[in-house]
């Protein structure tokens, strides 16, 4: 297929939803959320694998579709289409415009992340997706949704910081940031472990992997149906995809880290089983299923990191895993929702809404309030006291009277003439001495 056409097609997969995200540009088109998927569908229909290079974009990036990303794309298209349909279910009228915008932004980010061929491109699209998803969570929701959104946002920011750090480590050793080149550059570098940790922390936060899964439960609890459907396929799947793409599996072997990951993964699975059993709400089942599945993923990842041969042989399976994870969670969520519609008493009543905010929300808020109370001037009390002191100094009678008195005494004739004579004598004396 000729290059321009393929370039246009690839660019329009994330680009078209971005364009449609502007309310002004989609006012005339019906079913914008569905049409936005059109380029992706076309792309799926074309059997070949192609890519486009965009050296002028950011630091040089590109988009590509290959065997593995095709499956992911397919999953994404199906999930998003289903979510778009659910979105048209009775939603609050005034918010629908904003909701659609956030939907499309998240869609663009998610599709772009699948197609990205380099670290920065992936980072950009996943950030877009994250902020868009925040909007989806929060928009028009009640207190619980707002809080879930805040937690998600805070973790998103921390994750972005960690990933930025990882990017810096790679950029310090190479100019070419495409996945393959980056893996090869960072593998022999001295900061490899730092890179691995940063990547894992970042994507663990984004994907809600235990034990950094703080946003997962509140989100599942409070998301609207469309967003709940997407929870598996969008943030979690993108996070896992990121981990797979960014980690140089097959190139390195880090047994310590690999072992730790395996333990964490096992821990996650156990936690999912135990806690899931204990909490008893059917609605939360998909959440614990997610924790379980991601735990499994981490175990496998750990194994792959520990032994590079295993990593290179089985690395491809990760993509299939992600696809099935996405589908599975979606089906589970839809199923639970359908069950709820049929028999409301199968679902336990909603969790207490009067939960106190978590500690990492309370403390910054208190700090900001304290700072605002301190006043809005530079070191107000200090400067205030200085100014007052300076003002008092200036006011002090002593200065004023010294200056005034000086002038007055100088103006008395006797004084003036005396000074005159003294000056003359002084000059003569000094000159004579030299």
């Amino acid at each position: 297929m000729n290059t321009t056409l393929s370039a246009i097609l690839l660019l329009s997969v994330p680009g078209y939803p971005l364009l449609l995200a502007f309310p002004a540009l989609r006012s005339r088109s019906p079913w914008p959320c569905h049409i936005a998927l059109l380029p992706a569908v076309i792309l799926l229909a074309v059997p070949a694998a192609f890519s486009v290079d965009l050296p002028w974009l950011l630091f040089g990036s590109g988009l590509a579709v290959g065997e593995r990303s095709r499956w992911l794309l397919a999953m994404a298209v199906v999930l998003w289409a289903a979510a778009a349909t659910l979105l048209r279910a009775p939603a609050n009228q005034p918010e629908s415009n904003h909701l659609t915008t956030f939907f499309l932004l998240t869609l663009a980010g998610s599709l772009g992340a699948i197609l990205a061929t380099d670290l920065v491109g992936f980072f950009t699209f996943s950030t877009l997706m994250g902020y868009g998803f925040y909007g989806l969570l929060v928009n028009g929701g009640e207190m619980a949704a707002q809080r879930a959104g805040r937690v998600y946002l805070a973790l998103l920011i921390l994750a972005d910081l960690a990933l930025f750090e990882a990017l810096l480590i790679v950029a310090a050793v190479t100019d070419d940031l495409s996945f393959g080149a980056a893996h090869q550059a960072v593998a022999p570098s001295a900061s490899l472990n730092l890179y691995l940790s940063m990547v894992l922390i970042g994507f663990a936060l984004k994907a809600g992997i235990w034990p950094l899964h703080f946003w997962l439960l509140p989100a599942f609890r409070s998301a609207r149906p469309a967003a709940a459907l997407l929870l598996g396929g969008v943030p979690i799947a993108t996070g896992l995809l990121g981990a797979v793409r960014w980690l140089p599996l097959g190139e390195i072997s880090s047994p310590g880290l690999g072992l730790a990951l395996q333990w964490l993964g096992v821990g996650a699975m156990l936690h999912a089983i135990v806690a899931g059993r204990m909490q008893g709400q059917l609605k939360m089942l998909p959440a614990y299923a997610a924790i379980f599945a991601t735990g499994l993923f981490i175990t496998a990842l750990g194994a792959g990191l520990a032994d590079s041969a295993a990593g290179s042989r089985y690395g491809d399976l990760a993509h299939l895993f992600i696809v099935s994870l996405g589908f599975g969670l979606a089906v589970l969520t839809v199923g639970i929702g359908w069950l709820a519609a049929r028999s409301p008493d199968a679902i336990a009543p909603a969790k207490r809404a009067g939960d106190p905010a978590p500690w990492f929300e309370r403390w910054p808020g208190a700090a900001v309030r304290w700072g605002a109370q301190m006043g809005s001037d530079t070191l107000p009390r200090l400067r205030g006291s200085w100014l007052a002191a300076a003002g008092r100094l200036w006011q002090i009678r002593a200065w004023q009277s010294a200056l005034d008195g000086g002038e007055r005494s100088l103006q008395r004739w006797a004084f003036a003439i005396t000074l005159l004579l003294l000056l003359g004598v002084a000059v003569a004396f000094i000159g004579a001495l030299s």
Partner: protein, 478 residues
Amino acid sequence: MPWLHWGVIAIVLPLAGAMSCFLWPRRAIPLGLVTALGIVACVAGLGWQLVEQGAQRYVVGGWGAPLGIDLYADGLSLLMLMATAAVGLGVSIYSIGYFNREKARYFWPLWMFLWAALNALFLSADIFNLYVTLELLGLAAVALVALAGGAEALTGAMRYLLVSLLGSLFYLLGVALLYHSSGSVDIAILAARVESSPAVWAAVGLISAGLLLKTALFPLHFWLPSTHASAPAPVSALLSALVVKASFYILLRLWLEIFPPTSAVLGQLLALLGAAAVLWGGLQALRQTRLKMLIAYSTVAQLGYLFLAFPLASITGWTGALYMLLSHAVAKTAIFMAVGNILYFGGHDRIADLDRVVQRLPLTVTAFALAGASIMGLPPSGGFIAKWLLLEAAIRSGQWWWGGILILGGLLSAAWVFKVVGYAFTRSRAPHESRAVPVGMEWSALAMSMVAILLGLFASWPLALMEIGLPFGGKGAE
């Protein structure tokens, strides 16, 4: 000798102008203007002459020194003449609108007379002639101060007269001692003959004391603020810009030519007094509530700068001090003109009650701000060039503390300039009536301040002119 016309004409023309203004008071204004322009042309001619042929000496009446009167023009005198011409032209144009018919018939003759005295002073080549011209200058200035009428002006004039006479008296005593010890009053001859002796040192002491009183150096500055504040605005401008500088010129000339090689201590003493003047004048200026007093104290401070060059004893230092003199003359004239406008406009000059003058008199406030920039030493202005040169000289000679005084003085000036400008933007507490200011007054203020700024951009030309005849190449130089 063709040049004689310029120098002599520069003295005779204003005398003639004074006479004619006295005889035909109705035509005083056009006569005055024509004379002013004529003098400017003379100075230009003299300048051209000096550039072509170097320093010039003219023997009046063909009787040479030591008996006769010589006129001598070098770069230093040329600079003073140029300053006088520039300021004089500006003041002349300004005074057209300022004085009413009654006052104008006295102002113009006196002003021309003053100008003649100044020109003669700057061209004098012997110390007795300097005394004569100095006295004439003082008398004319006193008369001009009294012009405003009223008790305050008369008291100020009286005090000024007494001070002036006292200073001249001391100077005359010094001249007498020098004549007695060396047998001549001609500067060039004295430069060759004078040697260190008690008589000479007594003379130096007396001359310095007298001249310092007339130049209003701290602590002998007591008479200046009240005198300058009570005079009419153009007269204040003349006093601050030119009259006090005349005695400074004499002191400088004698220091460079006649005074025996001095130790650093004397120069340090003068600079110390100058530094005290800078600080005292600056602080006093900040305390004033009336514009004219504030500007007068600023003059006290600026005069202190001039004396900072004495211990530096380098050409850069001298040229810096003289450039400071030149730009201060121009800038102070502009400021007094601006203050005169404000006084004319509102009937008062209280700083806190300026009542959005910036909207009603935009040209005046601009003139004030630009001239203030020169006084502060902000680029681009003549004051900045002068400050740069003095700082450079101070740092090069290792006496960086004088540089510190310069900096402090600049900051103090900045404080009062911007205090006034700030009040120009705000409303006053009580409204009052205003009358329109004649266009000529506003534009002449603005033009003078523009000259002050241009002095900052085209400095190399005056600086080169100053060095004609190597006035700083004699005693007291590097």
